[in-house]
């Protein structure tokens, strides 16, 4: 078989079919993808299309996300400069004609929740379209393999769910980026340069969550990425993020990644868990075990396996800083007792909990309330998973963290309810699902008590730590703005530019919302966060033109 290759800054890079540009470049040892206006370098960070930091210029088109773009033979890939050049005479935007969809049920997000919802709604007889932003469905939990056989039970399970969803007759469309959500509901999306206009009778929002980072000096350096990004490299593309790896933050995903990478022959120099060991909270651990003995056993087995493979698991240990030293990163950790550990690594992975991807729900005006223990908003829903906005259902982590098993059950319940709403009443008994859901929620509630994912106080951090990755705004600038006028995050945004960049405040937003709440003494609520606005994700003007053409006579 002939080798596939593209060029990066005019040098050839080999890749395997199905690999993303991010994976292929990582495998080639290239980690700096773009330059910022302040002269910093950035690389792969979130790995799931959220942070907008892995931008490359591909075949002359700037602002192409390496994590979401498949490598192709002969591509001309360039590191993206801070201020990309616009072609003087651009090719007339010959966007393909817009695609209009009007299903009974539109499902946004093809993860555990979305696919389960699709299967249930189809079983009732409703027409279903699933729109997922990744090329292959399955979501962040099932992370499907691109072009190779499943790695383990989790991927097998995901492949089966995806198969069942396809078999059900649901139309599953990948690479769809939803950028607009309006009353109706009406969704606007971009898919490989084409515009999608979706007017479903009902919608199920299943957009999942993204990862909460550990904001320390150096967290924006190339080579520092979320645990999920590293996991996607390995699980989906069989690319090791690096040979020497450190993992930090809190929660079971970090241990899972450390084990997966160790099995893949990476050297995991440290797994730093900021929470105390589980045996320090025996009753909570026992409650979690009673709610789901299988998952707890799996967790224990994972910890034993990590130990067997010599991975140093440090409890009560937090990341302090990371800096570049030559071609390696040096990460510095500090234990509660004050012990400092430094490690030289290729890659630092971080996950300190999750933030719901609730942009669509907030835009549509679904009622939210603040969940202090999780440190994020939760979407208010009925037992049928319907939000306060009629005909808009929501399932899984986008409504507040709940885990993939709960998302699946919620999906089934919402799928049945959404189909019933448009007149398809299947004879489906949901009593088993209701019991299972209660059990999973019990498990989750106890599980997260064992970890340390409630948001950390940031105002005591080093003043030069970057808060807003996109606009390169540090803590002292944010605090300065707060001192002048703390009235609202919107005021702070205009005064400091915090949250004005491409990721639209997804990382800095939760932090500044907490800072403003603290400064004003007001409780956190929906209005404490940046106002939801279209576009939900940056959208190409070419795609807007295609949508305008298609909707000209309608609005």
């Amino acid at each position: 078989m002939s080798k596939l290759h593209f060029t990066f800054n005019d040098k050839p890079v080999e890749f395997s079919a199905g690999q993303s540009l991010a994976a292929a470049l990582t495998e080639a040892g290239i980690i700096a993808f773009r330059q910022t206006p302040k002269g910093e370098e950035r690389g792969l960070f979130c790995g799931m299309g959220v942070c907008q930091d892995c931008l490359l210029t591909v075949d002359g088109v700037p602002n192409t996300r390496a994590c979401m773009t498949r490598a192709a033979d002969g591509q001309n890939v360039k590191q993206q400069v801070a201020f990309p050049v616009l072609e003087k005479a651009p090719i007339a935007p010959v966007a393909p004609a817009a695609c209009k969809l009007e299903p009974d049920v539109a499902i946004i997000g093809g993860g555990a929740g979305g696919l389960s919802a699709a299967i249930a709604a189809r079983a009732s007889g409703a027409s279903v379209v699933v729109l997922d932003e990744r090329k292959v469905g399955g979501g962040q939990y099932y992370k499907q393999a691109a072009g190779h056989s499943p790695l383990d039970d989790q991927q097998h399970e995901g492949a089966e769910l995806l198969f069942l969803a396809k078999e059900s007759g649901a139309e599953i469309i990948g690479s769809v980026e939803i950028w607009g959500a309006f009353d109706g509901p009406l969704f606007l999306a971009e898919c490989n340069g084409a515009a999608y206009i979706i007017r479903p009778k009902t919608a199920i929002i299943a957009t999942g969550a993204y990862e909460r980072p550990v904001m320390v000096p150096g967290w924006t350096l190339p080579g520092v990425m979320t645990t999920g990004a590293a996991q996607t490299l390995w699980r989906s593309y069989r690319t090791l993020p690096g040979k020497r790896v450190a993992v930090c933050g809190s929660g079971p995903l970090n241990a899972q990644l450390a084990l997966e990478l160790a099995k893949g022959h990476a050297e995991v120099t440290i797994l730093a868990e900021s929470a105390p060991p589980h045996w320090c909270a025996p009753i909570t651990a026992l409650k979690a075990a009673m709610a789901d003995p299988g998952l707890v056993a799996k967790g224990l087995y994972m910890l034993c396996d990590l130990k067997r493979r010599g991975v140093a698991l440090h409890y009560r240990t937090k990341l302090q800083s990371v800096e570049r030293r030559g071609d390696q990163l040096c990460a510095r950790f500090r234990s509660e007792a004050g012990r400092i550990t430094e490690t030289d690594i290729d890659v630092l992975c971080m996950n300190a909990g999750f933030e719901p991807q609730n942009e669509i729900l907030r835009l549509l005006g679904a009622d939210m309330s603040f969940d202090a223990s999780a440190g994020h908003l939760r979407c208010q829903r009925t037992h049928d998973m319907e939000t306060s906005v009629p005909n808009i259902f929501a399932v899984g982590d986008c409504t507040g963290l709940g885990g993939a098993p709960a998302a699946s059950i919620e999906g089934t319940i919402a799928g049945v309810a959404a189909a019933a709403r448009v007149g398809f009443r299947g004879a489906i008994d949901l009593s088993v699902e209701s019991r299972q859901l209660a059990r999973h929620r019990r498990f989750q509630a106890n599980l997260w008590k064992l970890f340390d994912t409630s948001p950390r106080r940031i105002d005591s951090a080093s003043s030069d730590v970057t808060i807003c990755r996109c606009e390169e705004i540090n803590l002292s600038e944010v605090l300065g703005g707060l001192q002048t006028n703390p009235s609202h995050v919107g005021t702070l945004k205009r005064a400091t530019r915090v949250g004005m960049g491409r990721c639209q405040g997804r990382y800095c937003g939760p932090v500044v919302a907490r800072l403003v709440a603290k400064a004003t003494g007001k409780p956190l609520e929906d209005a404490s966060y940046f106002a939801p606005r279209v576009p939900i994700k940056p959208v190409s003007i070419a795609s807007i033109l295609a949508a305008e053409e298609a909707l000209k006579d309608e609005c």
Binding site: P37, L186, T484, N485, V534, P538, S540, I541, E548
Partner: protein
């Protein structure tokens, strides 16, 4: 609380007025409701030539705007003095281009330019080949344009922050409260939701909110909120120096120092009441961007990263500057069309009157007396 002057409204007019008053030694408090200030949503165009959008939508106001044209020229100069005082607001004055896509539009611009030149505006008509030299990035459908050299742009985020910092430095106090009513005796009292504010004199710089404050004083000011839509792209290295508008359609397009392109120009947003920020309308987003990409095709290579909506203010086209008849303690300062451009100058004129450096009678056409109920 007892101060010399309370300024109601902390937007461009309120801030610059507070600075002027504080510089003269007055003790000043700015009371602002913190919601729907037009200055917070403004995109920083410095308008001088008559905006075609406005002429089309509000033809009855055109005579007032035309009569005020020299004020717009002076207003841009005032921005330059302001920049000298508060530091860079990223002011660029490379002129504004109003584009024509056919001969009819160009003929309209020719007539408009003649009228404007008579009022002291620096305006000329450029044909395609002349345009090619200064704006080669324009779309192929553009046949010509009116170039108004007085026009320019500022970065409103930077300007607002600089002004706030200058006001803080001068000891101006900022209070977050919504003033609902006034009572006047040997002093003025402004009644807010949280507190009342007593002062010798009050300056009403509350734009669309001003009529609610004075309706009990024998005037009816037609100022009203107009919810508008704006968009911004990613950064790029291209340099679009001019403020771009269109002879017939609503658009402003310009580039900030950050390299981002701001696209606006008065497309409507959906009001959700005066106490909530308006909502972005899909039709405005699509129409506004599509027009921008037609006029300046290379922006079609960029992505839109954000849109927002905010409140513009319209009244009868002319600014409102001066005391309420029979109530010299209450002074109004509300700019006419293009309030952000006019803001610093209107504030200066109002405060000059309050400080006795200038008589309000000099410009009777801006007097609130014209709105006697």
């Amino acid at each position: 609380m007892n101060v010399d002057v309370v300024v109601v409204g902390g937007g461009i007019v309120g801030k610059t007025a507070a600075i002027e008053l504080a510089k003269s030694g007055a003790q000043v408090s700015v009371v602002d409701a913190g919601i729907n200030s037009g200055s917070d949503a403004n995109a920083g165009s410095l308008h001088v030539q008559m905006q075609s959008r406005f002429m089309r939508l509000y033809p009855e106001q055109v005579p007032n705007i035309e009569a005020s044209l020299s004020l717009y020229c002076d207003a841009v100069e005032e921005w330059k003095s302001l920049q000298a005082d508060v530091g860079s607001v990223e002011l660029v004055q490379k002129g504004g281009l109003m584009l024509a896509e056919d001969d009819g539009q160009l003929a309209f611009l020719e007539k408009k330019a003649e009228r404007e030149v008579r009022k002291g505006v620096t305006a000329e008509i450029l044909d395609r080949s002349a345009l090619e030299k200064i704006a080669p990035w324009l779309g192929s459908d553009i046949v010509g344009a009116e170039l108004c050299r007085n026009e320019g742009k500022v970065n409103p985020l930077v300007a607002n922050s600089r002004l706030r910092a200058r006001a803080d430095e001068l000891g101006v106090r900022f209070i977050n409260d919504k003033v609902r009513a006034l009572s006047v005796s040997d002093h003025v009292e402004a009644h807010g939701d949280a507190d009342s504010y007593r002062c010798d004199r009050i300056l009403l710089a509350a734009a669309w909110g001003v009529n609610d404050l004075v309706s009990g004083f024998g005037v009816s000011i037609p100022s009203r909120a107009e919810p508008l839509h704006m968009n911004i792209t990613e950064t790029c290295s291209a340099r679009f120096d001019h403020l771009v508008q269109h002879a017939e359609k609503s658009i402003t397009l310009k580039q900030f120092g950050s390299g981002q392109i701001v696209i606006g120009g008065g497309w409507p947003a959906r009001s959700r009441g005066l106490d909530r920020v308006p909502e972005v309308e899909l039709s405005s987003l699509l129409g506004n961007i599509a027009l921008a990409a037609r006029l300046v095709p290379s922006v079609g290579q960029l992505r839109i990263i954000r849109t927002w909506a905010g409140m513009n203010t319209t009244n009868d086209g002319a600014s409102i500057i001066g005391p309420l008849a029979g109530n010299p303690r209450v002074v109004i300062a509300v700019p006419g069309d293009a309030g952000y451009t006019l803001g610093p100058l209107v504030a200066k004129m109002a405060t000059a009157g309050m400080l006795g450096n200038r008589s309000f009678d000099e410009d009777p056409r801006y007097s609130p007396a014209r709105f006697a109920a």
